[in-house]
Subunit: 171 residues, 2 copies
Amino acid sequence: MAKEAAKDRATLKAVPAPTVDAETRVHDDHHVSLRLWLRILSCTNQIENRIRQNLQSRFNTTLPRFDLMAQLERAPEGLKMSELSQRMMVTGGNVTGITDGLEKEGLVVREVDPADRRVFRVKLTPEGQRQFQRMASEHEQWIIDLFGSLSQKQKKQLVELLGELKSHITA
Amino acid sequence: MAKEAAKDRATLKAVPAPTVDAETRVHDDHHVSLRLWLRILSCTNQIENRIRQNLQSRFNTTLPRFDLMAQLERAPEGLKMSELSQRMMVTGGNVTGITDGLEKEGLVVREVDPADRRVFRVKLTPEGQRQFQRMASEHEQWIIDLFGSLSQKQKKQLVELLGELKSHITA
DNA sequence: CGAAGATAATTGACACTTCAAGTATTCGGC
DNA sequence: GCCGAATACTTGAAGTGTCAATTATCTTCG
């Protein structure tokens, strides 16, 4: 469709057809992109809610706390508050509050950096490591179950497509 | 797999291969499912943050308010608080608060249902409709841009795969 | 009819989140 | 050395979110 440009010379009329086509395509894209976004959002919310409920009932903790501990677990040398903020994709003020709570429970510690006294290095305590290990293994099983209806191939396809999306968004 | 029972009669040996395969598969699945979940989460957070910032800077409003108004826009006869709660995937107490705010700004109204005095039917006011229309068209363009790096085919593929995921999770 | 139980919405306590403003420290020129 | 800018973190206010308890209304059935 929309190949009638050659005929314009003969008709001398404005040609609404291509415009309509373009709008139609845009409209379709509206529909698909919006639909896709709502579906991603729906899946994420459902899964997040499930995990949050599990963390609450099984370990009496919350997703942000688990998330912060997960970041620390992969960084034995500790992380700066700003690094935590960046990795958790939340603001710095938020990290302060969550860290306060975990520190009060003895699961993490703030250690001053002798080289830069503005900085705190946050680390898991041994108690924090123990508790995180217990949580992490159950958590992984929840995830596996939630994604259990997808074949290995489908999962890899999703990882691929979402990778493309992510790199475009981040840029 | 696991169809080698017939051959066992001939070999009379234990068959370790399938066991190793199974364990390997489980281990891979750990990795892929977790990776997939983190990637979905990352994409969702990035997009959500972007939209929230846009709503704030362009319209001085928030995502939950926009979300509630979007639900109402598709239901001219109004929605019960509980219906809003369900569609927005948040708890009832939350809906009360957001509705309070919007009502205070004159964008929605609570109307008592004469047939059942426990329920409120929440509706957009004309002012609310006008404001939502302005927001919605920009919002759609943000979404289109954010998903702009994906082809129409890729988007449909994602919708499909996530649909499978969603139906499994919801069940 | 009338009490027991279900349903609709609100409230209060607490946790998380953003943003903007504030404090402390370090870095870069002069 | 010192002053201004940048960086690291904390604080406080307002909005969002959960959960559990409460109030009000409807429904059921004896």
